[in-house]
Symmetry: none
């Protein structure tokens, strides 16, 4: 096992503990670190409280090589990150004359006198160098001492991100040179998280690559992370093994999206798609239209929330009357109607999802999906947990998944 | 000052430390606690790692009255929250027969065999009672021991939120009784967060009520939280003052949604609405259809992503040719066309949002919204930051906001 670098992230600000602001810095920095071969082992949020922040810093420095603090670099009494780093390292803060000059210049450029308390932002300690902040008055700190590194960044994301990219990443690469780190994700659908976990159990024994299982709206994702010179080969081998085990459920990898894959297949053959939705109420159209690849293949969609409207757009009223609106027959008729109305090659239809008090007396949670193409129609029955929220999303993804299956059947899944 | 209860929040999941998922649970729970008179003093994120999670739990229990853990209740090897709580409290886990039966029933309802691993989700310890989870297989835990309370909630927000509301809040009120805490939220639109912050600055001096400013997709929300016997009166006074300052931007309060307000106004007068979308690609339809109130007033929607399709559904081709598809004229024509096609009282249209390389050479970020009614049409020009993401959402909310304005103009905003 080669050496790994461990990091810890501390977000500073009482407003975060009151739920007033979503901490987007944390998720941004957390997603950046694996690409540098640095493992983030903990994240925490501190109030603007000297004792708490100092304790968190001390604890983090004990167990990590790198500590990143976001926020608390402002000019007010409440901004304590600098003070606490100095205190934990037992160093004296002094005013850096260059920083002071830059600060005064920044204020005079906007025609203002520098408020007295802003001098705090020119403070420095012997172990720190300051990181320029072209977008604000708070410079960052890069601190190296006793084989530990501390990085202090300003809280506003528009100041933090460029400082991270331009000032911190290059220094981290030098400070923490490392082996190659690669990751790959396999995406599955129509299989439960627990079942995936059971199937891939043997792979959890390995610590290179390591495996992670994540539940997403478009199914269960399995992420492999491999290190070292043969990282790529490790990924290839593991991927092949996982694909064999999970075969019928795997639909994509890494940045693939269901809608992107489908639109890719359609566009390459000059084929088109249209949708008519009830149960998914526009969500299906929205998912498809959100993909850049859809501009060539997506003819458009209809959102029809009543039988009257369905009939007006070509669903035969007698089909609705005979089978009820939550039926395979109506899903098929919706797909056929929208395919015709939009002159598309494929039509996709979703019926309402039965609620607990549906007048048709259908089993709550029941819905149907229909796919129409030149050869006819296919329908699928879906059974969801009978709750209102979340069903739309699952139904929309299911509809895409069923269209994907049909396209594979028709051998249209060529790249 | 009355006694305060202290809480700590632990989010569990290696995926959070890898930046794969934004931790929306943390900000949600953090914003909820002040309403219960409970002060959140720390938040942290733990990997799916037994030692780390146990240590965090132990530390949190030492210094807080209430510890909330989110995530780690799944059925896999990685899901360690139950194990760690049991270990920290030195209690044995056993299978709860009722929970097991419920789990098996849940699987059999969807026609599946319960995977062996899922039995973990029926585990319980003597100090815990289980909290039902109608939306997933992971029940929560409510634990009381040695004057400390631990709450374990499932990670998926759609499971966590209802469990929090229905199961946890009532128990917290009993467990941590306090002075009366009331809150009220004022919702604004078309005003920047920094400007709101500037305008309400004087109110931040007060510590009863306290003010919080939250940025949401439907605008900036200002939340007042008041304590004590005269809490209601404090809220009334502050609300009146804030409404005076923010008047033209305020559209609702508390649980109001734009779509709910609009559908309420329409339904009460027996009026109907239809939508034709390009730039918002089905999102507008989805927002409206998602509201229960829409069943009586929303006739349906069209998603049209090409000029050809727009023309096929009644937008005169000469209007598109003369003004370009990103124009006030096309927005108006879309609103008129869909109003007619769906026999609705109001038609709402959204044009594409100009991208940096739009063939019409329009300024990137430009879009138009059209509203049609019996009296004619109105259009609005929108200018968004020219980035792809987020624009759809803002455009859909803007369209609703413009329809609201028009309905006020027509004096249809009566309850």
């Amino acid at each position: 096992m080669t050496s790994r670098y461990l990091a810890e992230l501390i977000s500073v600000g009482t407003e975060l503990l009151r739920g007033e602001v979503t901490d987007t810095n944390a998720v941004y920095l957390a997603s950046e670190l694996p690409l540098l071969g640095i493992e983030l082992q903990a994240m925490s949020t501190a109030a603007d409280d000297r004792e708490q922040l100092c304790q968190l810093l001390r604890q983090a420095m004990e167990r990590s090589d790198l500590v990143i603090a976001g926020g608390g670099l402002g000019p007010t009494e409440d901004d304590l990150t600098r003070d606490c780093i100095a205190s934990v390292l037992n160093e004296e803060m002094t005013v850096d004359p260059d920083l002071e000059q830059q600060l005064r210049a920044m204020f005079s450029r906007t025609g203002r006198e520098m408020p007295a308390h802003n001098i705090k932002q020119a403070f420095i300690i012997p172990s720190a160098i300051s990181l320029p902040n072209p977008r604000g008055t708070a410079p960052g700190w890069w601190v190296e001492k006793d084989n530990k590194t501390i990085v202090a960044l300003p809280g506003p994301p528009r100041e933090l991100k460029p400082m991270w990219k331009n000032e911190v990443i290059p220094r981290l690469r030098l400070r923490f040179p490392g082996e190659e780190i690669l990751s790959r994700t396999i995406k599955t659908f129509v299989i439960a998280e627990a079942r995936v976990s059971e199937l891939v159990q043997p792979f959890f024994q390995s610590d290179n690559p390591t495996l992670g299982i994540y539940s997403h709206p478009d199914g269960i994702h399995i992420r492999m992370v491999a290190r070292g010179d043969n990282a790529r080969q490790l990924l290839d081998t593991t991927e092949a093994q996982l694909e064999e085990i999970l075969a019928p459920h795997v639909w994509g990898k890494d940045n693939d999206t269901l809608e992107g894959i489908i639109c890719g297949w359609l566009s390459r053959r000059g084929l088109t798609l249209a949708t008519m939705e009830d149960g998914t109420g526009g969500l299906l159209a929205n998912i498809i239209a959100d993909t850049r690849e859809s501009s060539n293949c997506y003819r458009g969609g209809l959102v029809v929330c009543s039988n009257e409207t369905k009939a007006a757009w070509g669903v035969p009223p007698e089909v609705i009357e005979q089978h009820g609106t939550i039926s395979a027959e109506v899903a098929a008729a919706m797909a056929v109607a929208v395919r015709e109305r939009f002159s598309a090659d494929f039509g996709l239809g979703t019926t309402p999802v039965a609620s607990t008090d549906n007048p048709e007396g259908k089993q709550p949670g029941l819905a149907f999906i229909g796919v129409a193409d030149a050869n006819g129609t296919q329908t699928w029955q879906q059974n969801y947990p009978p709750t209102w929220e979340g069903v739309r999303n699952r139904a929309a993804i299911s509809a895409l998944f069923r269209l994907r299956e049909r396209m594979i059947e028709l051998k249209l899944n060529t790249s």
